[in-house]
């Protein structure tokens, strides 16, 4: 540990100016963060509301229903009613009229009907907290969620296995073997990161059409087994930090390169393999364009996001349903991220900076 890091761990004495600055910065940063995350809260709340509440201005923030009261076997809406004596009472509207209406006091229904002069349409209603969990149950069926979830998970798992295996092999090659043109190939590899996808898309798609693969999972899965620049780079950078002594000792003992990879490199490379697996899984979960073009029209094999966008096309007026669908789509990647957040942030630092 260096002198600089030692001093930074000792807390400076808290001067009022420091406390002030810390308070201001914390408030400002928290404010930005709350604004930044508010769409998630918005979506979660809307997903639990009734369509009636969403379209009603000045309705409560939390999912609620207008309060009702059961009187003589029927449910009646409750309203805030201003009384002649200046107080406001919560009364159930039992008989609607243009000039005058009849109300009942929910707290004391036996006192009978209270007749109130005025138009009931001018009155506002109290709301009761009432999350519509049923929205989720309905969307589950409408969108055929189990089928979409199965497709998404299957695509992500197979794609992740292919990516990790192929990228590990290629990265091992770049990290441990000398061959003619290695640095040129590595430069080419990195260059593909910057290549606009549109340049390769048209012939690739055409080839998949000619092969008869469009409408199957093959165009999404086969390329995963042929490595990609990002993950090769990430794994190679990690393998470069593993000392060669053990490989060399194993080689002297007559171990083949694949044996060395399995018995020597792999046990030491777990952190980066976990990182690439989780990255690839979430990336595959979140891939929209690939499934959109290759699985168009094949609803039974599409993953969640394509199903969600199709659902939006049909049900866009049912705003609560759309948000429930969003929450159902984003929940698993978000949970994975929260569970493995260190892995994510470290992976991005490696690919992002150490060029």
């Amino acid at each position: 540990m260096t002198a600089a890091s030692l001093t930074s761990h000792r807390r400076p004495p808290l001067k009022p100016a420091v406390v002030m600055r810390r308070a201001i910065l914390t408030v400002v940063m928290s404010g930005i963060l709350i604004a930044f995350l508010s769409p998630l809260a918005y979506s979660a709340l809307v997903s639990l509301k009734t369509e009636q509440q969403i379209s009603q201005p000045n309705s409560p923030l939390l999912p609620s229903d207008p309060a009702t009261f059961d009187y003589q076997g029927k449910a009646y809406d409750v309203y805030y009613v201003p009384m002649p004596d200046g107080t406001t009472r919560e009364l159930a509207l039992v008989k609607k009229g243009r000039q005058q209406s009849d109300f009942v006091d929910p707290g004391n229904p036996d006192t009978g009907v209270i007749t109130w002069q005025g138009s009931w349409r001018t009155l506002s209603q109290p709301w009761e907290l009432e999350p519509q969990w049923d929205n989720y149950a309905q969307v589950w069926g409408l969108i055929d969620f189990p089928r979409l979830l199965f497709n998404t998970v299957a695509l992500a798992v197979i794609g992740t296995i292919g990516t990790v295996l192929s990228c590990l092999l290629v990265a091992y090659g770049f990290a441990r073997f000398r061959f003619p043109g290695r640095s040129l190939m590595f430069t080419l590899l990195l260059a593909t990161i910057f290549l606009p996808a549109a340049v390769t898309l048209i012939p690739t798609y055409t080839i998949f059409v000619k092969l008869g693969w469009v409408g199957t999972w093959l165009p999404l899965l086969v390329p995963a087994f042929f490595a990609n620049a990002y993950d090769v780079f990430l794994i190679r950078q990690y393998l470069m930090t593993i000392p060669r002594d053990l490989d060399e000792a194993a080689a002297i003992d007559g171990a083949s390169p694949l044996r060395i990879l399995r018995s020597v490199i792999l046990p030491q490379a777990w952190p980066v393999i976990v990182a690439v697996s989780i990255f690839t899984f979430v990336y595959s979960w979140n891939d929209f364009f690939g499934p959109l073009i290759y699985l168009a029209g094949h609803e039974d094999i599409q993953p969640l996001q394509v199903g969600l966008s199709r659902f939006e096309g049909v049900y866009h007026t049912e705003r609560a349903f759309i948000q429930a669908g969003n929450i159902m789509t984003l929940l698993i990647p978000v949970i994975l991220f929260v569970a493995f957040q260190r892995v994510f942030t470290r992976g991005i630092v490696v690919t992002g900076v150490e060029k």
Partner: protein, 284 residues
């Protein structure tokens, strides 16, 4: 090694060459006519295609708003999180990153309502006294700011990259600056920004490549119609429609090469200009 060589050839290099070859032919996906060599016909058509240049204009206009935001906002948030006065910065870092993992379509559909008339942004603006806030995604003036707001949701990775860079700046530099009498603003300008310039440059280059290809958000949000008023008909969206909806293979390939050429040109210009402002500590 060999799997990657095969994969690289099959999925990257061959398609690139093929795309280039396609530009001189008359390919369509259905191919009703015999394949013929058409010389520069596709390029002539491209030069005279008003829609192509209009969509390119849209892309550049959007890039002009988005690129500064995509470089400055993650940097500013990272500086805030990295400050020695920041409190709970590792939790905040995690939470700032979170929307980055939200599936793209879900994110777009959340924002579609968030920016609507009954969404929270306009509720907040009304509360602050703007009685008729804009209909962000349906107004030709406010659509780009609306799309920028959506884009900001994905800056998590940029924040992490910036934070890593900030942590790498030697503390001695700040101490030397303080001894020389520099306040927070002066040390930001004279230490942080020069030391961070390679990372700011890196995020700028990645941002350019991304923004030139921007089209999935309007595709999902507006079903590729280009509404409102053609403003969301970006270059790559037009390319996508040309290929997938109109199935014009050769013309689409010509547009793809134009996009590639523009991306290359812009990147080269930025690299040339970077010598004036990007400072590499390792170089003499």
């Amino acid at each position: 090694m060999s799997p990657w060589i095969v994969g690289f050839l099959a999925f990257t290099l061959l398609p690139m060459v093929a795309t280039f070859a396609f530009t001189f032919l008359n390919l369509t996906l259905a191919q009703d006519e015999p394949i013929t060599f058409v010389g520069l016909d596709n390029y002539v058509r491209l030069a005279n295609d008003g829609r192509v240049w209009e969509t390119l204009g849209n892309t550049f206009k959007f890039a002009a708003i988005w690129l500064p935001v995509s470089v400055i906002v993650p940097f500013a948030v990272a500086v805030g999180l990295n400050s020695r006065y920041a409190f709970g910065s590792s939790l905040m870092r995690t939470l700032f990153f979170l929307p980055y993992v939200v599936p793209f379509v879900a994110g777009v559909l959340v924002w579609n309502q968030m920016l609507g008339q009954e969404g929270w942004l306009n509720a907040a603006l009304r509360f602050l006294g703007w009685s008729t806030p804009p209909d962000w995604l349906y107004d030709t003036t406010f659509i780009y700011p609306g799309l920028v707001l959506m884009g900001i949701w994905g800056i998590g990775a940029g924040i992490i990259v910036n934070l890593a860079g900030l942590r790498g700046i030697p503390t001695e530099l700040y101490e030397a600056a303080r001894i020389d009498g520099a306040g927070p603003v002066a040390s930001l300008r004279n230490v942080t920004i020069p030391m961070m310039s390679p990372i700011l440059f890196y995020t700028l280059i990645l941002g350019v490549i991304e923004v030139l290809q921007y089209f999935l958000v309007p595709l999902v949000l507006k079903n590729g119609t280009g509404e409102p008023g053609g403003t969301t008909l970006f270059f790559n969206l037009n390319l996508y429609l040309t290929f997938f909806s109109y199935q014009q293979l050769s013309y689409g390939a010509t547009m793809a090469w134009l996009l590639f050429g523009i991306a290359l040109l812009v990147t080269l210009i930025l690299f040339r200009l970077s010598r004036r402002w990007v400072f590499y500590a390792g170089e003499r």
